[in-house]
Structures are given as C-alpha cells and as structure tokens.
C-alpha cells in the first residue's frame, strides 16, 4: 500500500471533503506547493486558487478555495478555507455570469474568484 495522508478540507460552515490522498497541490502566497505523505510540518497561507487532491484510489478531486490556510502535521493535512467548493458543486453558468459582471465593474477580487471557480470546474 502506498503511503497516504489524511486530508480534511473544511469551510467555515461545513466539512467539504475528507479522505485519504497521495498528493495535494495547493497555491500559497509564495507559490504552488505539493504535499506528499511524510512532508515536514507546514503551515501556510493559501491564495485564491484551485486545490488538486490525488486520492489514494487513483481519482482526482479538484476544489476552488478562496483564502485560507494549509496545515500539515503527523500525516494529517487540513485545508481551511472561508469558502471552498468541489469542482462538481460549482455552477458554471453562475460563475461565468459573475465573471462578466466583475469584469464590467472592475472588481478584481470577484473576477479572480469567478476565474478560479471556472478553472476548477474545467478540470473535472
């Protein structure tokens, strides 16, 4: 059995996803970071971006995460986010509308959020 790490992705009001994984890639403020089992304890600030989780049964889970933290210790990884959505929960049409609106209003933050959602949804 390959080495695994336990991942818990929690948003402020619910647990979004939890399970075993072999690799987690997330975007921190200083760049993308990949965490594999046995990584050194880590605590980082996440940027708005997609998080890719390679599950131990070979599948891939992609989620759009907006702000938050990644913390890893004892082979347990937690992704804390104020807002986190799995790629199949994302409403593509709504995100597209949101992107249009944000672009029109010049709201960079909202534009980025919508963009991240769309990219996460595209990879499913």
């Amino acid at each position: 059995m390959a080495a695994e790490l336990h991942v818990a992705m929690v948003a402020a009001d619910r647990e979004v996803w939890s399970g075993e994984a072999t690799l987690v890639v997330a975007r921190t403020t200083s760049g993308d970071i990949g965490v594999m089992p046995g990584h050194q304890p880590l605590l980082g600030v996440l940027e708005s971006g997609p998080v890719t989780i390679r599950t131990s049964d070979g599948g891939t889970v992609v989620a759009a995460v907006h702000g938050g933290f990644i913390s890893f210790a004892d082979n347990k990884l937690s992704l804390l986010a104020e807002i986190a959505e799995l790629s199949d929960e994302i409403d593509v049409q709504r995100a597209e509308r949101e992107l249009e609106r944000a672009k029109a209003e010049g709201d960079a933050l909202a534009e980025r959020r919508a963009d991240v959602r769309l990219r996460a949804a595209a990879s499913r």
Partner: protein, 305 residues
Amino acid sequence: MGAQLRVYKRRIRSVTATKKITKAMEMIAASRVVKAQRKVAASTPYAAELTRAVTAVGTGSNTKHALTTQAETVVRSAVLLLTSDRGLAGAFNSNAIKAAEQLTARLEAEGKQVDTYIVGRRGLAHYNFRERKVVESWSGFTDEPTYADAKKVAAPLIEAVEKDTAEGGVDEIHIVFTEFVSMMTQTALDDRLLPLSLDEVAKEAAPKGEILPLYDFEPSAEDVLDALLPRYVESRVYNALLQSAASKHAATRRAMKSATDNAGELIETLSRLANAARQAEITQEISEIVGGSAALADATAGSDR
C-alpha cells in the same frame, strides 16, 4: 344564556386562540433549535483546526503580534453584545444585556473606556432607550447567522484593534453571548477575544498533553499570524452568533411551552367557572319554575275553598 356565562365563554375562546398560537411557536422554535445546533456542530471542525493552527504559530514561534500581545495600559476596550432581533424568549435578552452591563461596569471600574458594539434589535433598543452610545450595531440575521454576517461583525472590531488607541482604537475585545449548554440550560457569559492568551488557547486545543510539531511557515510566521488572527476572530464571532441563535430558539421554545401550559390551565379554570355559572343558571330557572307553580297551586287551592 346568562351574561356571566357569555363572558366566560368569550374568554375561553380567546385563550384557546392564544394557546394555539403559542403551541405553534413552540413547535417552530423546537425545530429551529435542532437546525441551529446542527449548524454549531458543522462549524466546529473549522474552529478546531483554526485553534490548532493559531496555537501552533503562537507557541512555535517567538513572534510578537499586535493581536496577541497585551497592551501595558489598556485605555479602551470594545464589548460586543449578542442579542436577538425578536423577543418572546423569556429572559434570554435581559440576561445577555445584564451580563454586558456587569462587564462594562467592571471594565469601567478598572479605568477603561468602553466602546459598545451590538448585534440584534433587542440589545440596541435597550441601549437607545437609555441613550447610551453604541459604536456600531447590526441586526436582521440573528435567527440564522451566516459566515458572511460574522465577517461583517468582526471587520470593524479587527480594524479597531489594529488602530492606535490615540486615534480611537481599542486594546481589548470582549464578547458577551449566550452559550448553548443544553436544551434546558443556556448561560450568558463574557469572554475576552483579543488579545489572545495563547496559554488558554493551547489548553483548549491540546487537552491531552499533545506536543505540537515544529511547523515550517509559509511564507513566514508573521505573515501567517497576520492572516490567521482575523480569521480566528471571525470564526469565534461566528461560533458565538450560532450559539446565541441556538440559545434564543431554545429559550423561545421554553417560554412558549410555559405560555401554552398556562393557557391550558386558564382554560380549565374558566371552564369550571363557566360550568358553575351554567349550573347556577339552571338551578335558578328550576327554583323559579317550582316557586311559580307552588304559588299557582296555592292560589288555586285558595279559590277552591
């Protein structure tokens, strides 16, 4: 029907209508408590992980941060009071307000100025009526608070902490809310949100003497703390809002239950009285008939003679 009896009947009808309403409110509140409790439970993993992370940074590095260090002399404190928008919840709001007033008195006795922030129309009405100054207030979401609401409430508080006291900033934040202990017990309590005492946080996070690992901070411990602490405050405010909402529904349920019980008792007493009045009426009618016929019999017997 006699006048007395009619009055009783009317009162029974009105109390029955009230009882129906309070019964319905009791049932609505009961279902909402369960929902609110579930929300408290759903927010727990986030709060727990966040507490763990804060403890890790706080204990794993020697960083001094505005949000964790105690000011030498505290000039001003902020008190955030959580009440509900609607009443009909027994002593729920007055208990929270009382706790806030005790805290304010204590802080003022220590020579601190107190800035009051209020959530919920009830608390605001109480302060406005007494013409006390409220820095900021929010309402409209106390029944079902969302994380966005918590962010809205936490933002000015965090801003006030980061500001210098000379410019109107605060050194401490206290929060007064009603803790949901169980369906039967809810207690109003005050808690210091900031500055964090890491010892206490550590106690909560690792009760079993668990040793925290040495973390690698990305990008740096200061930046992580900068980002972490506002989130921590938000999550604490969110948790307090949720507990307060659950407590309010539980208090409403209890208040409405006793109102329903009282209405039931009142109906019983009134029906007894109505029965007695009806019986008295019948008795009177019978004695009138008997008396009348006796008088008639007496009269006929006299004419016979």
